[in-house]
Assembly symmetry: C2
Homo-oligomer: 393 residues x 2
């Protein structure tokens, strides 16, 4: 994809402000030319970065005009100065638009515990305004990257009540990835007209079935944010949860978030293999989730997958120490369509078939606990020496 | 250490029975010439290996005579056949001693889901009996090893009521290590006379402050067992928790288990650095434990330590997503004696001093949540590319 189509009325820019070394892009600006309805889902980490605290105030009111972001510095664990800097970053951007600072979302991602270099930020905001363009989406996505190998973007066109509507997503995330959220940022832009409460519900639900179902390393960061802006320029009748078109809008949003989430897993640090862990038959959905996450976050499983080893014993082990109720002699495990475990014991399957299944770029481990109706799915990846190398550096 | 002194009345052997490749030692036998009081602490994993299920019956009665063990096969997820095999392994050993199978502990460690090669086991038991010797301790310890780089043994001599008493420990464990327990085995032998209930309490308590405080990779295995045998041949008055000498015996036992546990951490797969994570000021001891384990098990922290990076932001991040209550602006973090964080923000310490602290072979991270009186300590290690390489293979 050479360009990223933005919805009507949106423009974007991405530049190198000097925060990162080697002249890499490190600041982005997204502007809606008219006030947009906003929604946000933020990290549940008790240690929240200053911009997250700022954005929680922004999302409370209507009429947002911009998102300004920087990579290379998380503005986390920076105390009162950090809050002042996040607000100043919003104010600088608001100044360029002649609006209130609370009309501007601020996002930061990068290292923790260093004050934002405000001179560079100020210069960056100025340069960003000069570069704003309807074609600036890819530059903005590039400026969001930290250890990401590739930028993550997607745009989908639909029709709502006869009006063409676009939803565009930009995301970043690679290490420190586990739901609820992780060092990940995602911006969802649409020209649809959407009622604020409905947009917040939709974003929350779609986040729960996408970003909150992926895990790379089980770590959860201080800065994760998913922000949606809907500026209504498509001219459709304002969508509510009762609208005839609500289903289409929500499903499109959900699919877009899911695709972005999968891009993040595939781009996990050092990842060569995407693994879907699906648990059914648990005593409850919550317990299914516990079992799936225990498997997905187990280093012994992640390294086995890196070595193209089925090693279902490590799956049995992980569900056994998870908080899910497990009866060993009831457990069935299948890799894609290849049976590995039946009733807690080895299925009569030639080892080569299992090896073939786990050697694919993507495969699914189906775990049936055969105890109840609880189910859950988690998307994860293998762990290679490269993950360790990248995170040492 | 060239030999491992066993307590009076104990003999041991370790041999290669052909279960492992390359003629590595893979079976061990420890025998007490008189009936011993026994105690045991076993994995809390819901998926328990057959020998663990067997041993839970053995520990219920008095008069144990032997421990027989194999490496190279965990006899886990092996169903009814696995239980029959564990019992047969006990019976073969009991036959050599002319005692009841329930007088024999059985331990297995290695791969999951393959039936025990019972012909090799039977031949092995026969050979083990021929090799039994008071000098066989080191051979037995060697036969316990899987990916361990070194065997883990220790013997301590004390005097109880004027009688010389010896406590000898043999342990194994490297990957899949996290308390409650892990793929670890430890055998504690003593010629002290100890009342059964007191021995069980002492082993439980000492395990909680040693093996249950270490974590290499957060995985918990199906086979972990700590077994103690006390045959009373030292001739001391039978120890109870009311004995004058109880304190000395318990402290010696606790110290011995702690030293064995630290040997396991140091020998973690690919480990180059041992890290003590100490949390104080938590709302409760339980919350302190949650915070300490979140830090100790975070891959981002473990890889940072591998890279000699203090990266206290990853410590803040981990306590923030732990289940412990955290108030960001109250948190103090110190590496050994070097302040890193004060009130949730960077302490005024030159980066070089922090780098120096985390570059040591062993260091302590002190975390004060400043919220209450809860405290906990966890012993862990860094994670290098070698961990991934070893577990891929």
């Amino acid at each position: 994809m050479k360009t990223l189509p933005l919805p009507k009325g949106f423009s974007a820019a991405g530049i190198a402000a000097g925060i990162k070394k080697k002249k890499k892009k490190d600041m982005a600006l997204i502007v809606s030319e008219t006030a947009a309805v906003s929604a946000g889902v933020f990290t549940t980490n008790q240690v929240k970065a200053a911009p997250v605290k700022w954005d929680i105030q922004v999302v409370e009111h209507d009429g947002v005009r911009a998102i300004v972001m920087n990579s290379g510095n998380a503005n986390a664990c920076t105390g009162a100065q950090g809050m002042a800097d996040a607000e100043a970053m919003a104010a600088l951007t608001a100044g360029g638009l002649n609006v209130n600072p609370l009309d501007v979302f601020v996002c930061s991602t990068g290292g923790i515990g260093k004050p934002l270099p405000m001179e560079l930020i100020a210069g960056g905001v100025e340069t960003l305004f000069k570069g704003l363009s309807p074609d600036g989406g890819l530059n903005a996505a590039e400026a969001m990257m930290t250890t990401d190998l590739a930028s993550k973007t997607l745009a989908v066109d639909i029709e709502l009540g006869g009006k063409p509507v676009r939803i565009t997503g930009l995301a970043k995330g690679s290490g420190m990835i586990q739901p609820n959220m992780a060092t990940m940022l995602a911006f969802i832009l649409t020209d649809a007209a959407v009622e604020k409460h409905a947009l917040q519900c939709a974003l929350r639900l779609a986040t729960d079935t996408s970003f909150n179902r992926i895990t790379v390393d089980g770590d959860q960061s201080t800065n994760d944010s998913v922000i949606a802006l809907a500026n209504g320029q498509a001219g459709n009748e304002v969508l509510t949860q009762n609208s005839e078109d609500w289903g289409l809008f929500f499903q499109t949003l959900e699919k877009l978030l899911f695709e972005l989430a999968m891009m993040i897993v595939k781009d996990g640090e050092g990842v060569t293999r995407v693994v879907t862990v699906r648990v059914i038959g648990a005593a409850s959905n919550g317990e299914a989730d516990e079992a799936a996450r225990a498997v997905a976050n187990s280093m012994l499983n992640k390294t086995a997958w890196a070595g193209k080893k089925p090693n279902w014993g490590r799956v049995m082990d992980a569900i056994g120490y998870s908080h899910a109720q497990v009866q060993e002699n009831k457990v069935d495990i299948t890799y894609d369509a290849v049976p590995a475990v039946r009733g807690g014991m080895p299925a009569d399957t030639p080892e080569e078939e299992l090896v073939k299944a786990v050697s694919q770029e993507a495969f699914t481990i189906h775990i049936n606990l055969n105890l109840g109706g609880g189910q859950a799915v988690v998307y994860t990846c293998n762990c290679t020496e490269d993950y360790v190398r990248i995170n040492k550096e």
